[in-house]
Amino acid sequence: MPLTLAALLLAAAIAFFIIFGRREARLAASARHSILDPSKDVLDAGKIEIDSCGFPKLDGTFRGRSFRVGLIPDTLTFRRLPQLWLDVTMKRSLPVDGSVAILIRPTGADYFSLTDRWNERLEPPANFPEMCLIKGDGPGARHILERIAPYVANLLHDPYFKEIAITPRGIRIMHQLAEGKRGDHLILRQIVFENARLNPEDLEDVIAAVLEVENLLLNVKLVSAA
């Protein structure tokens, strides 16, 4: 009899936790889906969709340029709290004959970084901070770096800044948007970006940086080593 009672209690507890857990999961998903909502109006015709990881992505235009704003949950570095990276990409063809990616504080597991794709390693300019990995591709890579270096050096000193990449197809800046809660990660390796949200002014700052880099590159007809 006591065993039956215990089994019943256990079943009731499991049922309670399943119902409660599903409600919690729904609330967590809803909070995650709305991370970009505050910044939707920064882009003209801004459209939010949910990606395969359950995080939102925003597409739209800013001053006639096409932008994509995405979120990358990063849990792949051993002994580091989960990170939520903000990816702001301007999609347009640029008059450059090369590509450059500048990654700050590389860990070796930065799978999202474009430094991963190219083999040519470039020396950081003198005013760049420590722990900077710069990789390029194509004959114009060094020249692109020289042109943007004075401006990008300031960006790199922002502790939230992660990467800037320039390719003939556009410009991308990655920022840290949120860091996972320590307790949830330590106990269950769960990823909780509590109260994560993208404020409009923050998105505008990143877009302004992208446009400034674009301006630096467009000031010459062809950014090339030739």
């Binding site: 580091r80 860091e179 330590l186």
Partner: protein
């Protein structure tokens, strides 16, 4: 930007960074499973008193680990723990070995968790009248299910899971109170305790499983990405965890050693659940069943996560075929590493006894700790205090390193006393793996990419 942890560039006190949930997490979350199983094999090696001495000696070992790890971690800004540290301080061959230590320590712990879970389900099933209940299907099921969860990458979070894991800790406290430690109604230490049946050599032999109480607690020293926080540099968080575990371990030891004779306790698979059974209280049995289930599941989940990430990093660094460094395009998980390690965990969980699986896990951890003691001596010689900035400087160097090395050496001897074959097998494995790396794999490693810190040239080079 809206941050969940506002640590950037601020001077932050430990108390501001660590809320109650964090302190709980630091103290018991990861290694709580050590209270539920495994520690009691130390009793079998030298008696209950020896196990308690071993528990406290292991606490000293982990205090040294916390101090040393905090200093080096505060300097190597790139996250990655000992693996990243070894790349910078010694080189690729050492990093390859440290990566393997981590993978094996976690994979064997995962297998040990699955064995315990399977055994518990079998025991409870038989108590409930299912005489034919078997542990093997549950072992396989738990590993496969958790691997699938990790493969999918569960971004949803459930507070309820934290509650259930908290129950695992509360269950120990409730059981401790329920056995009325102030009376001799249930506990019978006077009759059951038998001193040191094998003398001091038994105490030494117990040291082996004494490490189990804390194995992996240095993992609580997590990097807050990007700008290093003062809290991360401080060893106090890990120290608080060690102290919490010392208290929990002593409570566990006290109630188990007062309920069960050492001959039984020393070979039990689920000592806390068995203690609850001896109280004849059904609610306590249910509570400890739930506690054991969730502590093993939570631990196994963390192990799959950490082992796969260490294996993934080794693939990314070309220490292993780069095929392992792939990220799932949709789930953004290191799916190949997760899948590859499943049969390894299954093989050990299915075919090896619990004490041997635990021994492999402890040995892998022990190799890592031994390396830490050597590493910090190299580190201080190559980059003295005034050459690079440190977030934390551990005191009394080189005493903690020497104490750590001494306790590690004693523990190797302890392992040799009971598990000499396993010790030799593991050493042979690491030697063969190192030879493979040196003569075959090393040519694929991009040496320029290994050193990501802008440190000055080391002294003497």
């Amino acid at each position: 930007m809206n941050q969940t942890t506002a640590v950037h560039g601020e001077k932050i006190s430990l108390l501001r960074v660590l809320g109650p949930a964090h302190v709980w997490a630091l103290g018991v979350g990861i290694v709580l499973v050590g209270e539920y199983m495994g520690w009691n094999f130390a009793v079998g090696k030298g008696g209950a008193i020896a196990a308690l001495i071993a528990c406290w000696a292991a606490g000293l070992l982990y205090t040294c680990v916390a101090m040393i790890d905090s200093e080096v971690t505060s300097t190597v800004a790139a996250a990655g723990g000992q693996y990243a540290q070894s790349k910078h301080i010694i080189g690729p061959l050492m990093a390859f070995n440290v990566g393997l230590y981590l993978v094996f320590a976690y994979t064997m712990l995962e297998a040990a968790n699955a064995i315990t879970l399977g055994y518990l389900v079998q025991t409870v099933g038989q108590m409930a009248g299912f005489a034919d209940a078997q542990d093997k299907p549950f072992i396989v099921l738990s590993i496969m299910f958790l691997a699938w969860l990790n493969y999918r990458g569960v971004y949803a979070t459930l507070t309820v899971n934290l509650v259930l894991t908290a129950i695992a800790f509360i269950a120990v406290v409730i059981l401790f109170v329920a056995v009325k430690p102030w009376s001799t109604e249930l506990l019978n230490h006077k009759e059951i305790l038998n001193g040191l049946p094998y003398g001091w050599i038994g105490v030494l032999a117990s040291l082996h499983f004494g490490l189990w109480y804390y194995l992996g607690i240095e993992g609580t020293c997590q990097a807050a990405e990007e700008v290093r926080s003062p809290a991360r540099s401080l060893p106090l968080g890990t120290m608080a965890g060690i102290m919490t575990l010392l208290i929990a371990a002593t409570m566990t030891w006290y109630l188990c050693s007062g309920l069960m004779p050492w001959e039984y306790l020393g070979q039990a698979t689920t000592p806390l659940f068995d203690a609850a059974r001896l109280t004849s209280s059904t609610p306590l049995m249910v509570l400890l069943f739930v506690g054991t289930m969730f502590s093993t599941l939570a631990s196994a989940n963390g192990c799959i996560n950490d082992a796969s990430r260490a294996w993934f990093s080794m693939g990314r660094d070309r220490y292993l075929p780069t095929w392992f460094g792939a990220v799932h395009p949709k789930n953004r998980t290191p799916f190949r590493s997760i899948v590859f390690l499943v049969p390894v965990a299954l093989t050990f969980a299915y075919f090896a006894p619990l004490d041997q699986v635990i021994t492999f896990s402890i040995l892998s951890g022990l190799l890592g700790y031994t390396y830490m003691s050597v590493q910090v001596i190299f580190f201080r010689q190559m980059w003295p205090l005034d050459t690079i900035k440190r977030g934390y400087v551990h005191p009394f160097h080189p005493i903690p390193a020497l104490v750590l090395l001494t306790i590690c050496s004693a523990t190797y001897f302890a392992v040799f006393l009971g598990y000499g074959t396993q010790l030799i097998a593991m050493m042979v494995f690491f030697i063969v793996a190192s030879l493979w790396f040196h003569f075959h794999r090393y040519k694929y490693v991009r040496r320029g990419d290994q050193f990501t810190m802008n440190w000055p040239r080391p002294q003497g080079y």
